[in-house]
């Protein structure tokens, strides 16, 4: 059987003092839909080890990251190979009205880090990414360049970008092109 292929398999990572860009492939990703006030929501939180964050535009971290993506929707990011997670969540809230969908290959993750990361993203993201406004623990679904993305602020200058797989090649090329001037330093 041939190797698995990630959407940015051909992407040459950027590794400079000022800026790092690399794909984090094959994360386990689940889309979770549930009424946040329901018992099922609490049970899912227990099963994840991370309560579902209810403040819009934030994420919670534990063994996995749980990103708020809507008032009854979350995106769970777990390490590659967490195949059993979907089943465990279904079991935890058996019989309740929930939507749990494996979307692992729907998007891929790109990590952007380094002192110029905000300058890089500012070329194509209309959100205010100043640390006063969009610090660690914040996430947003928005548009970067011409692609819809989920953006999460990590510690320091790091950002995680989740982009639809079909757009990943475009966004990778766009990031590389935009990065050129930020590598000069």
């Amino acid at each position: 059987m041939a190797e698995r292929l990630s959407p940015l398999a051909g992407f040459e990572p950027v590794s400079a003092e000022s800026l790092r860009i690399e794909e984090i492939p094959f994360l386990t990703q689940l889309d979770v839909r549930v009424d946040p006030k329901s018992r099922a929501a609490a049970e899912i939180g227990l099963a994840l080890g991370v309560p579902l964050p209810t403040e819009p535009g934030t994420y919670a971290s534990g063994d996995c990251d749980v990103l708020w993506t809507g008032p009854d929707e979350w995106l769970v990011l777990a390490p590659p190979g967490a195949e059993g997670l979907e089943g465990r969540l279904r079991e935890a809230c058996a019989g309740a009205h929930v939507g749990i969908t494996d979307v692992s290959a729907q998007r891929t993750a790109v990590l952007v880090d380094g002192p110029r990361s905000r300058d890089l993203l500012a070329h194509g993201c209309a959100l205010d990414l100043h640390p006063r406004v969009f610090g660690p623990g914040r996430c947003a679904q928005t548009v970067l360049a011409r692609a819809q993305v989920v953006l999460a602020a990590r510690e320091g200058d790091a950002f995680m970008i989740l982009v639809r797989s079909s757009f990943a090649g475009y966004l990778g090329a766009w990031l590389l092109d935009a990065a050129a001037e930020h590598l000069l330093d």
């Binding site: 059987m1 041939a2 190797e3 698995r4 292929l5 990630s6 959407p7 051909g10 094959f26 889309d31 839909r33 009854d72 009205h97 929930v98 939507g99 749990i100 969908t101 494996d102 979307v103 692992s104 290959a105 729907q106 998007r107 300058d119 500012a122 070329h123 194509g124 993201c125 209309a126 959100l127 205010d128 100043h130 406004v133 360049a145 011409r146 692609a147 639809r164 797989s165 079909s166 757009f167 090649g169 475009y170 966004l171 090329a173 766009w174 092109d177 935009a178 050129a180 001037e181 000069l184």
Partner: protein, 933 residues
């Protein structure tokens, strides 16, 4: 030509070429300054009348001196007054139109988003004071200024602040801002648009060596301070377009900022005190001031003061006088000035006529922001009135014309803005400047005359007072109408200098007050912006996202040509060496009809629909019944909009009692999900259903053809593939090529066929395994289209256009008669949807079996085209060559088409209309005998 440079001015010499002649200038010059320094007065000829024109202003308000840069890269329509001189510059003067480059621009242009608490536009005295005050609070401040160096008018006037030269003071302010981590200074940056919710757009002309040549800034500001200054106003008089007629402040700027004298002997024509400052500086620099014509009869106080001391001592001041004529030298430039007044009429020899009709605050951005303007009767100018957004105006931009006043106003405004944004500004000293008192200005727009044919109100568009009066004589009253009738104010400068004057002339001619008449609308951009800058990096591969599937690399490596489907690249066909499209597609079609083919179907939209009410939900959205579908089964479905027209189609598989997977057309994936969410959220919130897009989670390989079963059997030994165990329109989970897969037995070609879905990461492995069997031919979208068309399957969006019902497509069978309602049902009972002459989907067979009809071609009833209007009966929606039929065929939407089957219709293709026969839309295997293999 002798140098007009002031004595003692030195610097790095730069060589340049203008209109074919070589000149030298100094670093720091604009092209206009360098031309004046070389004594070049008539820099262009006007486009229509061919009149010689000179430099009128000193910055972006220049109406005349448009140039085309020839080297290093051709750029049309730049203002000589804003082009920074560089060594080797080659330019020509433009009378009107420029020329676009005949080659791609190699420079890079880009864009950034920025956010701030306070945006200050303009780094003159008021703007610098505002920005430093606001930044002292810790607020995020952006200071944008369109000049290369900060200071605004200070280098032009030579005034001092805090006891040092204005330039030194400005440099100090910039240094202070540089020390504020949250402040950013953008020189050479023109804020050209002020849009909703304090969204402002600017263009930065970056320094040589920067990563991009120009950069667009998209700035969202909590508060805005506009410190955009004022433009000196011209006056309409006979011959006011002659080279040598110049704004007084511009001549002062050339003398003080660039050390360039615009003439040797000058007459000053003014309505106020400002021109005396200009005249004084010019006299000190060596220009002889022949006389001052001051329109004010009560300017005697000045007259007396001038007589005493200073460079203007003894200068004749002609109070109550106006300029009534300009005499010209052989090159058309000013040789003498005629003045008239209480002392009579006199002709004075001069090569320079300095004009000052007062000042217009630069209210463009304020007006763009939605703010109201009001006419100030003391300043004789339109000033900012009530604001519509979080914006304040400081300094000359609101009519504060003294340096001390601007500094004070700047500190106050910057402080207010930062505090309104929630910051505390520590006590901030007001920089000190000399306080002066001025006499009230006079008001004069237009020097009365018998003939207004050379009283210009737009130098670039060559509009005169006579033209304006013809417009008002024709009955036009609104300045907007006069603008469009005369074109005054429509050139590159958008009437920056002359717009208010034009309004005044209209007011004069129609007997109304200018304050009641108002101005024309100020619109973005404030100054011309190149399309290259606006396009930025959205060029070439980055122009629009290219979406690809997980198999794209394989397709490209195997010579596929690609078809654009929305943003997707889909393999169109895979030509072998020596094959053209027709041959390749016929080969691929034959392979599927006779053996087995594989296509990348990953782009189809896929929506996971879960919840106890999922079946009920789908019953309401699809025309057919989905709730009766058994787990493990698949049904084709059609969705209509509420108007009953087909919106999308696809298959629905039932994964579990409460879970379905719906597929959509490639182009409608997002629209269908939005459609589902809209109904769920806004009409049926009580339905317990969640919808999730999984389009890109899955890679889908379509395996089609009579040999597809044996191929699948070989790849999936654990799967019972016989027709009884795995019937048509069912799905099975299985390992295919060792990969967990969901296999659907569905067909879009009429052949025995499967669609194999795997996690997109495994898509390439699956594809390689399928193609690696050696019996499977890869095929592209063109073959898919031919095969489906032979079967009469419509493509939504190609064979339909939003005006087609399921019945029009001959698909009554897909519309449930049992359901009480579904979206679109009521519309199917409207009188219009049951008209017998509705367009039906039918097949067409050209009588010439080799003739391929163009898609979009129209159908008519007769072999000869009647006189127009010609009634078209419909049009060709799809047209192909069929390997299976051995001929060409087409699908068409034809009025009353099903009743015309067997009829002959005609298709006009330029010559005589060609005959075609109308047929049923299913042309291949109408019995459906082939789908089980």
């Amino acid at each position: 030509m002798t140098s007009r440079r002031r004595e003692g001015v030195a610097g790095e010499t730069l060589r340049f070429r203008y209109d074919g002649r070589d000149y030298e200038g100094l670093r720091g010059d604009t092209l206009a300054a360098a031309l004046l320094a070389n004594g070049v007065r008539a820099v262009v000829r006007s486009g229509g009348l061919g009149r010689p024109r000179g430099i009128y202003a000193s910055w972006t308000e220049e109406p005349n001196a448009l140039v085309q840069i020839e080297e290093p890269f051709p750029e049309p329509m730049l203002q000589a007054t804003t082009v920074e001189l560089y060594d080797g510059l080659v330019a020509t003067g433009l009378g009107g139109r420029g020329r676009l480059a005949d080659r791609p621009d190699p420079a890079r242009y880009d864009a950034v988003h920025a956010h701030c608490d306070v945006l200050v536009v303009g780094a003159g005295p008021a703007g610098l004071a505002a920005a430093t005050a606001a930044a002292a609070s810790g607020a995020r401040v952006i200071l944008a200024d369109d000049r290369p160096a900060a200071g605004g008018c200070l280098p032009d006037t030579g005034e001092t602040v805090d006891g040092v030269s204005g330039t030194t003071w400005a440099a100090g302010m910039l240094a202070e801002l540089a020390g504020r981590p949250e402040a950013r200074v953008l020189p050479r940056t023109t804020v050209f648009g002020y849009y909703d919710d304090n969204y402002l757009v600017a263009v930065e002309r970056r320094e040589e060596g920067a990563a991009s040549r120009e950069r667009i800034w998209r700035i969202r500001a909590r508060r805005v301070v506009l410190a955009t200054g004022a433009h000196e106003r011209p006056i309409a008089f006979a011959g006011n377009d002659r080279p040598g007629v110049m704004l007084a402040g511009a001549a002062r700027a050339y003398a003080n900022r660039y050390g360039v004298l615009a003439g040797r002997r000058a007459v000053v024509f003014t309505t106020g005190d400002g021109a005396y400052d200009a005249a004084r500086d010019l006299a000190a620099a060596g220009v002889e001031i022949a006389a001052v014509a001051d329109v004010r009869r009560d300017a005697h106080a000045l007259d007396e003061a001038l007589a005493v001391a200073g460079p203007l001592a003894g200068t004749e001041v002609l109070t109550g006088h106006v300029v009534t004529g300009v005499g010209s030298a052989p090159d058309g430039s000013v040789a003498s000035v005629t003045v008239s007044g209480p002392s009579g009429e006199r002709e004075i020899e001069a090569d320079l006529l300095l004009v000052s009709g007062g000042w217009n605050p630069v209210v463009h951005l304020f007006s763009q922001s939605g703010g109201a303007l009001r006419f100030d009767e003391e300043l004789h100018a339109f000033v900012p009135g009530e604001a519509a957004q979080a914006v304040e105006v400081a300094g000359a931009a609101r009519g504060v014309y003294t340096l001390a006043g601007c500094l004070e106003d700047g500190v106050a405004t910057g402080t207010r803005a930062a505090e309104a944004a929630g910051f505390r500004v520590p006590p901030h000293p007001v920089p000190a400047a000399e306080r002066v008192t001025a006499l009230p200005s006079g008001r004069l727009w237009l020097v009365p005359a018998d003939d207004y044919e050379t009283h210009f109100v737009d130098l670039q568009r060559e509009v005169t007072v006579a033209d304006v009066m013809r417009a008002t004589g024709a009955g036009l009253r609104s300045v907007e109408h006069v603008k469009r009738y005369t074109t005054a104010g429509t050139a590159h400068d958008q009437g920056k200098l002359f717009g208010v004057l034009t309004s005044a002339v209209v007011a004069h001619a129609t007997g109304v007050e200018i304050g009641d008449l108002g101005t024309t609308t100020f619109r973005a951009p404030y100054a011309p912006v190149s399309f290259a800058a606006l396009a930025g990096r959205d060029r070439g591969m980055l122009h629009d996202p290219v979406r690809v599937t997980s198999l794209h690399g394989w397709h490209a490596a195997h010579g596929a040509l690609f078809e654009n489907v929305g943003q997707w690249k889909r393999p169109w066909y895979y030509p072998r060496p020596g094959e053209d499209m027709e041959t390749a597609v016929l080969r691929e079609c034959r392979a599927v009809r006779e053996g087995a083919g594989a296509m990348d179907a990953s782009t189809l939209g896929k929506i996971d629909v879960q919840g106890p009410d999922a079946a009920e939900f789908l019953d309401r959205l699809y025309t057919n019944m989905m709730s009766t579908l058994k787990v493990g089964a698949i049904r084709y479905g059609v969705m209509c909009r509420a108007d009953g027209m087909v919106f999308d189609d696809g298959t629905v598989m039932r994964l579990a009692e409460d879970r379905f997977l719906a597929t959509t057309t490639t182009g409608n994936a997002a629209a269908v999900l939005d459609w589902m969410e809209e109904w769920l959220q806004t009409e049926w919130p009580s339905l317990r259903v969640y919808c999730t897009s999984v389009t890109e989670h899955w890679a889908t390989v379509a395996l089609a053809g009579p040999r597809s079963r044996e191929v699948l059997a070989g790849l999936a030994p654990g799967l019972a593939v016989d027709a009884a165990s795995f019937p048509f329109m069912t799905w099975r989970d299985a390992e295919v090529a060792g990969i967990p897969a969901r296999v659907c037995r569905i067909s879009f070609s009429g052949e025995l066929a499967y669609e194999i879905n795997v996690n997109a990461w495994d898509g390439l492995a699956l594809w390689e395994a399928v193609v690696g069997t050696g019996v499977v031919t890869p095929y592209g979208t063109e073959t898919m289209h031919v095969l489906r068309a032979e079967k009469g399957y419509p493509i939504i969006g190609q064979d339909t256009d939003g005006t087609v019902t399921p019945a029009d497509l001959g698909m009554d069978w897909v519309v449930s008669k049992k359901k009480a309602d579904f979206v679109g049902k009521r519309s199917h009972a409207r009188a219009d949807t049951s008209r017998p002459d509705r367009k039906h989907l039918v097949g067409l067979l050209p009588e010439d079996p080799g003739l391929l009809l163009p898609e979009g071609a129209h159908l008519v009833a007769t072999s000869r085209l009647p006189e127009p209007p010609v009634r078209a009966l419909g049009h060709v929606t799809s047209s192909y060559r069929s390997a299976a039929l051995g001929r060409t065929f087409a699908l068409a939407l034809v009025s009353g088409g099903r009743e015309r089957i067997g009829e002959r219709l005609y298709v006009p293709l330029g010559g005589d209309p060609v005959p075609v026969t109308v047929t049923h839309h299913v042309l291949y295997d109408p019995e459906g005998a082939r789908r089980d293999g």
